[in-house]
């Protein structure tokens, strides 16, 4: 599709849209971008996200042993020992973006269909589970691991993350 670039010198408005659009409709895009957002490729009234950093990082998540925590509870005249779950967290660094503010970032594991969605279930074995979240601060991107084990352990696993960091819309 051929597009048309229009720049209005009087107020600095810039609009890019389908070149086959009629003149009157195109001018409506220029003057009323919000109601025409589906038809506009670019308009100076909008803010746009752009890619600030992209990197690929492999992280090895440690093996987590089955829980060894027990508790003795009274049962009739005697007592029984029950096993209690154990849990923990660990923050792993994926990379540095250096933007100076906390940006939006996300990660996949190889392709888009293996996106690390919020509180992603990375691993499960019986009642043992390992969840991960992509986290960011003003300088770096991390993957935050939360795990729980009970009667089953979690084996160590190495995962490769493709990270995408975006500037705030501007």
């Amino acid at each position: 599709m051929a597009v048309r670039l229009f720049a209005r010198g009087s107020d600095g408005v810039v609009c890019i849209a389908d070149a086959s659009t009629s003149e009157s409709t195109f001018q409506d895009y220029v003057s009323n971008p919000y109601k025409n957002i589906d038809n506009i490729n670019f308009h100076s009234a909008f803010d746009y996200m752009s890619l600030a950093a992209q990197f690929t990082t492999s992280i090895t998540f440690s093996a987590r042993a089955a829980s060894s925590t027990t508790q003795s509870v009274n049962k009739g005249k005697g007592s029984v020992t029950i096993q209690l779950p154990e849990q923990g967290t660990q923050r792993h660094q994926l990379g540095t973006h250096g933007l100076g503010y906390t940006p939006f970032a996300t990660a996949t594991r190889g392709n888009a269909n293996r996106q690390v969605t919020p509180t992603f279930q990375l691993q499960k074995n019986g009642a043992a589970i390992r969840l991960v979240n992509v986290e960011m601060d003003s300088n770096k991107i991390y993957v935050y691991e939360s795990w729980v084990t009970y009667t089953n352990a979690l084996a160590a696993t190495t995962q490769t993350f493709n990270c995408w960091v975006f500037r705030n819309p501007e």
Binding site: L51, A112, T117, F166
Partner: protein, 80 residues
């Protein structure tokens, strides 16, 4: 006042660099996405079990889950 258009042999900028050919932007695509934006709830707990809906919209249930939650596939994004 920001420069409206700045066109050089190897670089194009518009609206005070709001659009800059040196930068990479995102656009929505229906196939060949680089990543996906999750646009709605993607987990449900029922009967002591968990259903996770992956970015393609497929369900992943543990043995106890007996609910009927249906999530939504993520939106495909291409970085160009």
């Amino acid at each position: 006042m920001a420069i409206t258009l700045n066109i050089q042999p190897t670089r194009f900028r518009a609206s005070g660099s709001k659009l800059d050919s040196n930068r990479r932007y995102i656009r929505k695509v229906s196939s060949s996405a680089d990543l996906k934006f999750v646009i709605s709830r993607n987990m449900d707990v029922k009967n002591g079990g968990l259903r996770y809906v992956d970015p393609q919209g497929n369900n992943s249930d543990d043995n106890n889950y007996n609910g009927t939650f249906s999530g939504t596939a993520g939106v495909g994004i291409k970085v160009t």
